[in-house]
Each structure stands twice: as C-alpha cells, then as structure tokens.
Amino acid sequence: MIEFEDVTKRYPDGTVAVDRLSLRIPSNEITVFVGPSGCGKTTSLRMINRTIERTGGRITIDGEDINAKDPVVLRRGIGYVIQHAGLFPHRTVVDNVATVPKLLGWDKKRTRDVAMELLERVGLDPKLAQRYPAQLSGGQQQRVGVARALAADPEIMLMDEPFSAVDPIVRHQLQEELLRLQRDIGKTIVFVTHDIDEAIKLGDNVAVLRVGGKLAQFAPPAELLANPADEFVESFVGQDRGYRALTFRQAEGVELGPLPDELIVDEAGKPVGWSKGGDELLPVGAVFHRGDSLRAALDAVLTSPVGQGVCVDDDGKAVGAVDQAILAGALRS
C-alpha cells in the first residue's frame, strides 16, 4: 500500500501543485488519478518515485517512508511509464526493455530471456526486438514502454498519461491489454490521465483532483458515477454518467424472457434477424452475453428494431431476450 499523508508540493516559484493530499493506494490494484490540466496529477505521481521531492507531509510504501531509501534504489523497484514512452532512441527495442536488468547487473542470458518474454507479454511480435523506437508505431512504442517498466518485476508501476498520444483506436487496444496484463500480474498501478472515460474503464479506484492539488473524491468508478461528491466531480464526470454507470452492473441477474417467435435463428441457433412477415428480415441489432454489463444489455434493447435485446451464449447461440420492461426492473433493483 502506498500512503499519502498530508503531502504538499510547493514549487520554488511558489506554485502549490499538491495541497495536503491524503490518500491510500491499495496494493495489487489500479488506482487512477484524474483531473483537469494542471491539477497536480503528474506531481503527485512523481513524488512516489521521488523524481519530484515533496515539500511537506509523508509518503510511505508498505509503512516505510520513501525518504528513508536511496532514491536510485527506490526507483529501480518502481516501474515508470510516460507519454510517448520516453524510449531511448539509440537503443533497440530489446535493449530498451533490458535497461533496468542491465543496471541491476543481471547476466546476459537472463536479461535477454526476460526481455523477450516481456515483449510477448505486452503483445509485441518478437521480430520487432531488433528495431529502433523510431521504426515503431506510437502504440508499439507504448507497449515497449510498458515492457521496459515491467522488466525488473517491480511491485509498483507508475503510469503518467501513457496512452494519451496515440489515436483512439490504438488507445482502446492498449487499455484492453493493460487490463488483461493486470489480471496476470496484479501490480500496484498508479495511473494518471485527464480522460474520465479512461479512468472509469481502468481504475479499481479513481482519485479525482481539482486544480490546486486538492482531492475532490476518491472512490471506485461506479460510486463516482452514481454519487459524485460535488458539482465539480459531477461536471467532470460528464454527461451520460447514468448510462455509463451501467458498465458496473452485471447483466447476469437479469431474468431472461423467452426467445420471441419473430427472431429467426440459423441451424446453430445464432440469431440472423427479425422476421417482418414475408421474406424481409430486420437486423438483429447488438446482442449481449450473460457476463456482460447492463450497459450492453440496454444497448441490445435499444438497437433492436423490435425493442427486444437478444442474449447469446459463448457460441453465439441465442438463449433469451430482454425488453425494456425487464431491464427497468433490473435497473431499479
């Protein structure tokens, strides 16, 4: 656990970037710092690996004050990923990933093996290992950055807007990969973003900061959407928060109705369309799985031309349908 106790950062020019911040960052989860530009996210993050030194308060990791440690040693045990990855342009991909193991003096073979394994882990083709960063796309670079930060198997990973420089589609992929990776590795990740959607998607907990470096709310994302602490958080969380909050409610509990007769399925049971009388078929609309969120279920209802959302199993076989009324019941409960 990383704990901020009354932490303050006042820059030499007098700017107070972080003001008496107190926060407990649980281990093995993703905690996201989110807030408008200049609210002190980066400053807060970098005080953890002491690339910025706090000017007041205390930061402890598992109870130990980080100031008691040699900063270089501290940093080697903390992974750090930033926008544009900050890759070393003069080193190949594999050498970039191997940076920390080399600093730690691991033997060559082990270093190389770890680096190659990590490349695979973050979804990079091992063929890219000998390339230089300039020869990679933005998304690939970002993956290398993550691999590099993971190389010494640190307990903690700090990530400062790592995905904000790539295009939305790639960003989406990277987010999914981070979640998948985290399921495997279970690190303590502190993630900074100014994108509330990203925060909600990735965070087990989200810390919303306001300008001046004050904590506005610290809560799991569902809670944030349902109960914004104040107007600032509410406006920051933005429109559609009700709809988005459905992301955190499982469709599992929804009672499925029977498959309507109008739904035409193929021999494998997969839905192909809604019969309209005659040969004409209406599109099925979006479908959802049992394990999906209520959001997916609602979207299935909304896209269905007949107001019935089709639920399918893992093979794509239609297993039932919900309509607005059923959903309303589920939502209310």
Partner: protein, 217 residues
C-alpha cells in the same frame, strides 16, 4: 600546380609534401585534442546540469569572434616564443567554441521525457549522462568536432606565418615568392586534408551514432 604536386622531388625530405602533411595533421590533431579535452567536459557539464549555460554559450560565441591571426601574433608576443605553443593556443581558441556549443546543444536537445524515464527507472546522474545523454547527443557532438576540425585544418595554414611548417608553408612561401603553383598546391592539399578528415569523422559518426538516431532509420 599539378606539375608541382606530381614532381616527386617535392614530396620527399624534411621539407617534402609528405612531411608537411604529417606536420599539418599533427598540428590539427593536437589542437583538436586539446580543444576537445577542454570543451567536451564543460559542454557535457552544462548540458547535463543546465547550469551556467547562458554564460558558457555566450562566452563560446564571443570566442568565435577572436581573430585567429591576431591571437596567433598575440600568443607569440606574449609567450615570447616561436614554435608550436603559440600556434596551439590560437588553434585551440578556435576549436573550443564549436565543440562547446554543439555538445551543449546536443545534450540539451535530448528529449526531456527520455531523461525523465531514465531517472524514473533509477539511473544515477552519471548513468544518465553516459548511457542516455551522450549517446543521444552523439550526432551533434560529432558535428561540433567536425566543425572544429574544418576550422583548425584551414587555419593551421597561418602557423607558417610564425615560422611553423605544415601545408601552410606552401601557401605562405608561395605568397611571398608569388609562386602560384606552390600556393595552389598548398591550398588544394589543405582542402583535401579537410575533406579527408571530414570523411573520417563521418565514418566515426557512422560507428558511434546509433542507427536508431538516424533520421530515416
């Protein structure tokens, strides 16, 4: 001019072209080496710490304005010596500014995010300098050395004005005697030497600069 160059008589002996080229290279390398020994550490220091940059850069630029001829003569008069020392002083004064400024420019041009990443992963100041900043600044460091070499090679000719050898001998003697073939030959050899050294530096660049830093990698 070519007659002069191809006359084998002119090539041998202590006053032959061969010997003059070696002298010229010696002056150049000595001056370059000394300039580098002075300018590189200073450039690296201010580039790494970003301290004193304003002063050093402006002094460096001001030093560019020192007239080599005047400096040379001043050095002779002040050291009360003729020979290598005053020439070395003048050439070193010429070599320092380009090396200093481009070393600094190279280091300060390293992407702040890259340095941040290096620090964040636990590199010490020295490791950041040697493993990150210097390799990335290498293209500019080399180009500073190239610039200095070009100037030193061409200016080393004036060493002949204060009695030293080198290819300047041909230029200066040619001037005094209005022996144009000799002078042309001297100038041509200086230019060729400059180009040759430049190519060597280009080669050194190929070897020391990571392919990752080349523009169309």
């Amino acid at each position: 001019m070519f007659e002069y160059l191809f006359d084998s008589f002119n090539w041998s002996g202590p006053e032959g072209i061969g010997a003059r080229i070696i002298q010229h290279i010696w002056y150049t390398l000595a001056a370059l080496g000394l300039s580098a020994v002075i300018a590189l550490p200073v450039g690296l220091y201010i580039g790494h710490t970003r301290r004193g940059a304003f002063l050093a850069i402006n002094l460096g630029n001001a030093a560019r304005a020192l007239p080599s001829l005047g400096l040379l003569m001043l050095a002779v008069l002040l050291t009360d010596q003729i020979g290598f020392l005053p020439v070395l002083i003048a050439l070193v004064a010429l070599g320092i500014p380009p090396i200093l400024t481009s070393t600094y420019a190279g280091l300060s041009g390293v992407d702040a995010a890259t340095v941040d990443a290096a620090r964040g992963m636990g590199m010490t100041g020295r490791e950041i300098l040697t493993k990150v900043e210097i390799p990335i600044a290498m293209p500019l460091i080399i180009s500073g050395l190239r610039g200095a070499t070009l100037q030193i090679v061409s200016t080393a000719t004036i060493a002949a004005l204060v009695s030293l050898g080198g290819l300047g001998r041909y230029v200066v003697d040619g001037l005094k005697l209005r022996d144009f073939p000799q002078m042309f030959a001297g100038a041509l050899l200086v230019a060729l030497l400059a180009i040759l050294l430049d190519l060597l530096f280009a080669l050194a660049g190929r070897i020391t600069v990571s392919p990752g830093l080349r523009r169309n990698a």
